[in-house]
């Protein structure tokens, strides 16, 4: 027999409370009566039956205690394994986030968690599944025997990204086994309390300093690095920040980071390319002490085709891009451009590339524009998409727009119909606006240059800095395969899929280099900023659930317990009601004696 919610057993503490209340109830209050004459006679009579009555009263208490115990036990959801039933499956969830590399427990949190996970596998009654809790939970091994689970655990490595524990637990709970599923989570940051889930939290300290972000701002003579240093520890620290390139020290500053604060420091660099930022500070998590940035990146080349638009041309001139006007799009112009802007051109077949379409569509995109819509209102926008970052579209007036009918992609701005749409596929990365600039007053709003720069940056892939743990997707253009150099220097091959090169999860921080033909893309992956806070989060009270969730092969007995408790309460009530005063006699003349007068 096992219990699915053992925390409910704390409710057994109600039993001494009942006994206490029972004892308090026995404290008698003074009640005046006109005479004790009859009460004393009644008491003498009752004294003869005292043992029986005392037993009855004790029996009432006993029944109350029994009923309360059964109710509490029912809340704990006890389950009885049926004879011959299958064993419960165990899902071992291991946190592989960057914070698990912390060394506050020897040799590290990750190694400790793996050791505990091995023990859990040995104790598991049935098959074991291994789930790695990373930025996206991954099933590392399906339900199998313990030997397979041990091998999988030994092959696990921590990443430099975050962990989504709740998603991993949801994935684990979603598994189905004939005997039920029990989830054992090994992490430094416990999630929500869920029946059937046990958390094993590792880690002791929260003292850590790391680089939260590195931003590059172009200035007149080079670039300005804005480095944010997050001190998650309890004490202020003086942290030297050093910027270097190819091992050559460029600039250094010391920042005083307050306890729990994020402090920014600016460092000017005059070089172009990837620079290395490091904190010369030893703490228990080393991975977040370094980061990379791309300084002085080359401005994307933009080809502007279609209807002439003075506002668009002036806006492009104000942002760091190289603009080349073109009367029509040819393979030669495409090869020379990072992004092609098509303003109100006739729909045409687009070769692989990056496109910003204004007031028009393309024949090979999963979008159609059967007619137009007049005066659409902007109702909502996807603020978390890179194209919409820092963009607010309140009070935008649109005179006329294409009525877009979509079959994929992502809607960035939506009114009555989609107004701005992003798509990646078949070698094409496109942002389609349902209206041109002269069909709205968008150009008059501050959001316009931001939106334009975001769109060009996203289309050109200028966002060369990625957080660890997430995917990296690059347009493959005409290339079918690329050579990739991983952060540890090893080489691999990457085939294009749908016109894109996809790295599903950039687990390790560092430099990723993709080479296809004459093209070389250097990508920077930095550790997840949210992993700087390494203080362990204990499991919530009542989260030590060890029992499996209900499944075939086990039988829930809580209903039977509740029925039993109710039956006991009914018996207790019946016994109690037996002792209640009977119906009172009719008032008055029933006690009036009218004796016959003796002769």
């Amino acid at each position: 027999m096992s219990v699915a919610a053992p925390a409910a057993l704390w409710g057994l503490l109600v039993l001494p409370v009942i006994v206490l209340l029972y004892m308090l109830r026995a404290r008698r209050q003074d009640l005046p009566v006109s005479t004790l004459l009859l009460w004393q006679r009644a008491r003498r009579e009752l004294a003869a039956h005292r043992p029986v009555r005392r037993f009855e009263r004790s029996l009432l208490l006993l029944l109350q205690l029994l009923a309360a115990a059964l109710l509490v036990l029912a809340l704990a959801r006890p389950q009885i394994r049926l004879p011959g039933g299958p064993e419960a499956g165990t899902v071992v969830v291991v946190d592989v986030s960057a914070s698990m590399q912390a060394t506050d427990v020897a040799p590290s949190r990750f190694e400790t968690a793996i050791r505990q996970a091995h023990a859990a596998v040995d104790a598991a009654p049935g098959p074991v599944m291994i789930v790695a809790a990373a930025a996206a939970p991954r099933v590392m091994a399906p339900f199998d025997d313990a030997a397979s689970a041990h091998r999988t655990l030994d092959a696990l490595h921590p990443t430099d990204g975050p962990a989504r524990i709740d998603q991993a637990v949801t994935l684990a709970l979603g598994q189905r086994r004939p005997g039920g599923v029990r989830v054992e989570v090994f992490t430094d940051r416990a999630g929500a309390s869920v029946p059937g889930v046990s958390y094993h939290v590792v880690g002791r300290s929260g003292a850590n300093v790391g680089i939260a972000s590195v931003a590059v701002e172009p200035v007149a003579r080079g670039s300005l690095l804005v480095v944010q240093v997050h001190n998650a520890g309890p004490r202020a620290e003086r942290i030297p920040v050093v910027v270097s390139r190819n091992g050559r020290r460029l600039v250094a500053r010391t920042v005083v980071a307050g306890a729990g604060a994020v402090t920014s420091v600016t460092l000017p660099v005059s070089v172009s390319g990837v620079v290395h930022v490091a904190l010369e500070h030893a703490d228990m998590l080393a991975v977040d002490n370094t980061a990379y940035a791309v300084a002085g990146a080359q401005a994307p080349r933009v080809v502007l085709a279609g209807a002439a638009d003075r506002v668009l041309a002036e806006a492009l001139a104000a942002i760091p891009v190289h603009v080349t006007p073109a009367q029509r799009v040819t393979p030669e112009t495409l090869a020379a451009a990072d992004v092609v802007i098509l303003n109100r051109t006739a729909p045409a077949e687009l070769p692989p590339g990056n496109y910003l379409l204004l007031g028009t569509t393309a024949l090979n995109l999963p979008v159609q524009a059967p007619d137009r819509v007049r005066g659409p209102q902007v109702l909502r926008w996807a603020a978390r998409h890179p194209v919409m970052r820092y963009v607010r579209l309140d009070d935008i007036t649109i005179g006329e727009a294409l009525r877009l009918v979509l079959r994929g992609g992502e809607v960035l701005v939506e009114g009555e119909t989609p107004l701005l749409w992003a798509y990646e596929g078949e070698g094409v990365r496109a942002v389609v606006s349902a209206f041109a600039l002269d069909q709205s007053d968008l150009a008059l709003h501050p959001a316009f240059p931001i939106l334009l720069q975001n769109a060009l940056a996203w289309l050109a892939g200028a966002e060369r800095v990625y957080p660890a743990g997430g995917p990296i997707i690059l347009p493959a253009r005409e290339a079918a395969e690329a050579e990739v150099q991983w952060p540890d220097g090893s080489l691999g091959r990457l085939a294009s899929s749908g016109g894109r090169f996809v790295i599903p999860a950039a687990d390790r921080a560092g430099l990723y280099v993709l080479r296809s033909g004459s093209r070389e893309d250097v990508l920077v992956v930095n550790p997840s900023a949210e992993e700087i806070v390494v203080a362990p989060v204990a499991a919530p009270a009542g989260a030590a659930a060890a029992g499996p969730l209900t499944a075939r092969g086990t039988s829930d007995v809580w209903r039977a317990l509740i029925f039993a408790a109710l039956a006991i309460l009914a018996v207790e009530w019946w016994l109690w009601a037996r002792g209640l005063p009977r119906k009172r006699p009719r008032r008055g003349d029933a006690y009036l004696l009218r004796p016959e007068r003796p002769a």
Partner: protein, 296 residues
């Protein structure tokens, strides 16, 4: 509610009492002629019997018709109408101050009604308030003019202290020489018992009539749960768990106690009537006291 002489009985009710008289089982020698037929043969108007003439008899009572037929002298005897002494013996112990209305208020109104009937019939009516001894007495007086005095005496009675009928009766029987009808109005909650007091009264040639007054919550106590019951009269306390069993035992003890009183009174030829304060007072006086033989 405090009782005053003017609120004891209302005038309309008093008028209904005018037609009633007290009935006594025994015939007492009164000091003055009253409106009650005495066994004393004398100067009344109602013929009672004959007896042979004796020297010294009043010739006015010789039946000359008998003499003419039998040639012997017989004296006609007449029942003489006499007054009796009525002693209203009211229990004023603390236990009488109980119930709604209180038993004492009920008893005082009852005593007032009986006293009024006696005074209206030219009987001598006195009153006694007793607890563990005689607290106050009103000597028997005769005449309707004594009504207000009786009412004022009754209105001045307050409940308090313990009760001891035997001690009070012993004190009273030696204090008064007038024997007569002794109407005991009490709840009879007497730890020392009521038997000795009533026997003593009978021994001293009083004719006791017991009016036993109980309140409704003494018949059926509205109590429940664990309690420490405190006797308001003696201050004594006892712990009880008042549940169905206890109330049933109480009912049995109550019935046994009442039955004991009835048995005692029957054995000693003492008139006894028990009433609850929930009985309408007018019903008690005009109906049940007449049925019980105290009033006619």
């Amino acid at each position: 509610m405090s009782v005053t002489a003017s609120t004891l009985l209302d005038p309309a009710f008093l008028r209904r009492l005018d037609t009633l008289t007290l009935r006594s089982r025994r015939v007492y020698r009164g000091m003055l002629r009253g409106e009650r037929r005495s066994r004393t043969m004398g100067r009344g108007v109602e013929f009672a019997d004959y007896r042979p003439y004796q020297v010294g008899d009043d010739f006015r009572y010789v039946d000359w018709n008998i003499y003419s037929r039998l040639d012997r002298l017989f004296i006609k005897l007449f029942s003489e109408e006499e007054d009796i002494n009525v002693h209203l013996f009211v229990d004023a112990s603390h236990s009488m101050d109980w119930g709604e209305p209180s038993k004492l208020a009920y008893a005082l109104r009852l005593a007032a009604a009986i006293g009024y009937v006696g005074l209206h019939a030219l009987d001598r009516v006195g009153a006694v308030a007793f607890g563990d001894r005689v607290r106050a007495t009103l000597a028997p007086h005769r005449g309707r003019g004594q009504t207000l005095r009786l009412f004022e005496f009754l209105a001045g009675i307050r409940a308090g202290g313990p009760s001891d009928l035997r001690a009070a009766m012993r004190e009273y029987v030696f204090r008064t020489r007038r024997r007569g009808l002794l109407i005991l109005i009490s709840d009879l909650w007497m730890p020392g018992g009521y038997e000795d007091g009533l026997t003593l009264a009978q021994y001293h040639r009083f004719e006791p009539f017991v009016l036993h007054i109980v309140s409704e919550d003494e018949v059926t106590p509205p109590l429940a749960g664990d309690a420490r019951l405190v006797d308001v009269e003696t201050g004594e306390a006892t712990e009880m768990t008042v549940d169905g069993y206890a109330l049933e035992a109480y009912a049995r003890a109550r019935d046994a106690y009442f039955a004991g009183i009835e048995r005692f009174c029957l054995q000693h030829q003492i008139d006894y009537l028990r009433t609850a304060t929930s009985i309408p007072f007018e019903d008690l006086v005009l109906r049940y006291l007449r049925m019980g033989g105290l009033l006619a």
